[in-house]
Amino acid sequence: MGRYVVRRLLQMIPVFIGATLLIFLMVNVMGDPIAGLCGERQCDPATAARLEQEFGLDKPVWQQYLTYMGNVFTGDFGTAFNGQEVTELMATAFPVTIRLTLIAILFEIVIGVTLGVVTGLRRGRPVDTGVLLLTLVVISVPTFVTGLLLQLLLGVKWGWIRPSVSSDAPFDELILPGLVLASVSLAYVTRLTRTSIAENRRSDYVRTAVAKGLPRRRVVVRHLLRNSLIPVVTFIGADIGFLMGGAIVTERIFNIHGVGYQLYQGILRQNTQTVVGFVTVLVLVFLVANLVVDLLYAVLDPRIRYV
């Protein structure tokens, strides 16, 4: 187990370097960001040169990357164009996005898995068909449509919620955005659980458990569900990274000042420091989430052992 974790952690290093390098190059390919700082006029050359120096843009790209990575390891993520430290931006943005992601994951687990179990056990019944249809609708409608529609209905027409989230972004205001963010994944989780449950219901160990005379509840929760959750856990684990980085649309609709907002603004302003900094952290989150998922397999499936 310990050796496995160490091996996995070592594997992360090349992935981390590769991912950050790619992002760094991509942002650089977009061109010189200084020109965008002076509005509809040419920056005067002296000031432009000073700014390039300040943001380290006057050096060749490989050197910029090395300096940047060196700084990152000492905890210095650089400065955004508006003079704010990127670490400061992270400190305000990540807690908000983490709260949003938590709510979304919670929705996926609670609603998604429950619906999956219910439909999986009642295959072919009206409940099953109904939920299947519903998930199909959710999957096929783009997030921004769902988001704007719910915002208009609940926020403006019925006045149940505030259409936008305040700058503190407490948990209660993030419920609807969290649901919108989770909606598509939620539908997938439902379908995944359903298929998995339906398949495992006919397996030998379930039949054995039933034959032993175990109560139905124990058969479903301890034996059937635990084994059926493996693909679902993989999906949800990968989804954590996706939800954190992919919340750009949802965060824009509900005016949430989280990671998506900072990334969006960073890309528009071609702010290498912000974009690379945030993506670096997201890459880390993704890697760690994947590791945790793999370790969870061993907990869920007694046949899997790591050496």
Binding site: M30, G31, D32, P33, I34, A35, G36, L37, C38, G39, E40, R41, Q42, C43, D44, P45, A46, T47, A49, R50, L51, E54, F81, N82, G83, Q84, E88, L89, T92, Q151, L152, G155, V156, G159, R162, P163, S164, S166, S167, D168, E251, R252, I253, F254, N255, H257, Y261, Q262, Y264, Q265, I267, L268, R269, Q270
Partner: protein, 540 residues
């Protein structure tokens, strides 16, 4: 802060409930303690006066600073604010006297030194101020801000403090309208606190305007409160303003409809059709000092021929401005008939129809003119624009359609979107344009000079097409030296006629500012810079 925010929401909700139940009333008098909330965008640069060149940061500076001059919110005329008098005998040496009795909100007196220090800071290369070139006319600017290399002086020799409240300014050339430019934010005075503890100041700016910064969470919200001891006569009529950052103006508009926001100063294009229904008379659409044009790459030989003038004139006549402003912009733009803006007024140099028939939609003549001029270079044009903001792609496509229809050629004009504004500016700076491209101009101060010199003077900072014309340059030089305003304006208009005769850029339309507000507000106005006049807003 959290508790107070919640408390305020509770009060707002109650006020809303009362208003809907018919218990509101008393609309006109206004509550001088009540705070309104307004939409905002995250300023691109640190909030320093000489470092802010976009409207969102400018909004705040306009609330917390007062300069020597101030542009009248309605007429745009430059009026004395902190200036007691600005005297000159030769339009080159100015003696400025600062009014007595003004202080910053931290109690420090506003003196001649406050201005001189601020201007020297703004001009100094070391401080990386984006608006440094505004001080370019002052003698000694070359030393503190050389084109390359290190600066050789810390202060400009043209600025001298001669008394507690007086200082002199020496310019490198005659510039008669110089005093009128002093209302621009870059010329605001700065307190010692700015220099002594710069980081603290940037986190919570201190100025001398009618509002003071109560709390500032960068990237999300700024709370401004009325400064009770404000010495000026334009005191705020409300208790304060909470500026909230919105990533998307559609969300701000939705929030306004839901009663969570009081003021939106940028109604999204997609909502223009519904705005009358949604807001009724709580919507404003007035001219702003913004003009959109199509510039041409004069560094490209294909566009710098004698015949190309006719091609440009023909292209201009092929654009159905009326139809585009009506259908795409729902009349929030007005077809342009000169190269300035209606906010200048007739006396200020705006002259409707100066462009003449070249700005009228005449497809047949357009086709003839383009053929006479040798046809489109390479048989076709591409219009380059940045696709990340505004509804640029919609109108560029409409302009292209209009040109294609006029020329009976489906492939004559195509749109060429560029992903980000920075990349777009890069391609312009690197002279990579091969055909017409979007050029927008928002005035810095309401003078005809500001619509012509920065855009068409040889090597001027916003002369993106690198157009150069000796006759135009001479006329502008003469106009700047002319002490009589009317004569100066007349000379500028003659220069503008040179722009017309060469069709240096195709004027498209004048842009309006728009605002929508909640039932709590009254007396909402937009100034010529399309920024709400916050201090005059009354909250009930």
């Amino acid at each position: 802060m959290r508790t107070s925010t919640h408390a305020r929401w509770a009060v707002c909700a109650m006020a809303f409930a009362l208003a809907t139940a018919g218990c509101g009333g008393g609309g006109d008098s206004g509550d001088s303690e009540a705070v309104l909330s307004a939409s905002w965008g995250d300023p691109q640069n640190p909030l320093e006066p000489a470092n802010t060149n976009e409207v969102q940061g400018g909004k705040v500076l306009d609330m917390i600073f007062r300069g020597l001059k101030r542009y009248d919110p309605e007429t745009g005329e430059a009026q004395d604010m902190l200036a007691e008098k600005i005297e000159t005998s030769d339009s080159q040496n100015f003696t400025i006297t600062v009014k007595d009795g003004w202080t910053f909100s931290n109690g420090e007196k506003v003196t001649a030194q406050s201005f001189v220090d601020a201007w020297n800071y703004g001009a100094s290369l070391r401080n990386n101020q984006r608006n440094a070139y505004f001080f370019g006319y002052i003698e000694g600017y070359d030393q503190v801000h050389p084109e390359e290399g290190e600066q050789t002086a810390d202060t400009m020799s043209g600025l001298k403090v001669t008394g507690d409240r007086t200082f002199t300014v020496k310019l490198t050339q005659k510039f008669s309208t110089f005093p009128d430019t002093l209302g621009y934010n870059a010329f605001a005075p700065l307190p010692r606190a700015f220099f002594d503890d710069h980081d603290a100041w940037v986190n919570k700016p201190v100025g001398n305007g009618p509002y003071l910064v109560d709390a500032y969470t960068r990237g999300s919200q700024m709370s401004l409160r009325t400064w009770d001891d404000y010495p000026g006569d334009d005191r705020a009529q409300n208790g304060g303003v909470d500026l909230k950052v919105y990533t998307d103006n559609n969300t701000a508009y939705t929030d306004l409809l839901a009663g969570n926001l009081d003021l939106v100063d940028d109604v999204p294009a997609a909502q223009l059709r519904n705005v009358k229904n949604d807001l009724g008379d709580r919507y404003l659409n007035t001219p702003a000092g913004i003009i959109q044009t199509l510039a041409f790459p004069f560094y490209d030989d294909a566009w710098n021929t004698a015949g190309a003038t006719k091609v440009r004139q023909g292209l201009s006549m092929a654009i159905d401005r009326e139809q585009i402003t009506d259908t795409i912009f729902q009349k929030t733009r007005t077809p342009a008939t000169d190269w300035t803006s209606p906010v200048l007024g007739e006396d200020g140099g705006f002259q409707a129809g100066l462009c003449g028939e070249f700005c009228e939609f005449k497809p047949d003549e357009a086709k003839k003119l383009i053929e006479e001029g040798g046809g489109l270079p390479g048989g076709r044009v591409t219009i380059t624009f940045n696709a990340d903001t505004g509804s640029h792609s919609e109108w560029v496509n409409a302009v292209c359609n209009s040109i294609n229809n006029a020329l009976d050629d489906e492939r004559a004009c195509t749109a060429n979107p560029v992903g980000t504004f920075a990349d777009f500016r890069n391609q312009i700076t690197d002279r990579k344009m091969t055909g017409p491209f979007r050029a927008g101009w928002q005035m810095d101060y309401p003078l005809i000079q500001n619509f012509l010199q920065p855009l068409y003077y040889t090597n001027a900072s916003s002369n993106d097409g690198k157009w150069s014309n000796q006759e135009f340059d001479d006329l502008v030089d003469r106009a700047n030296q002319e002490t009589d305003t009317a004569k100066a304006v007349d000379l500028f208009q003659q220069a503008e006629e040179v722009v017309r005769d060469n069709m240096a850029a195709i004027p498209l339309w004048y842009q309006n500012g728009s605002a929508g507000w909640s039932e709590r507000l009254s007396d909402v106005k937009l100034n010529p810079f399309s920024v709400p006049v916050y201090e005059q807003i009354k909250v009930s």
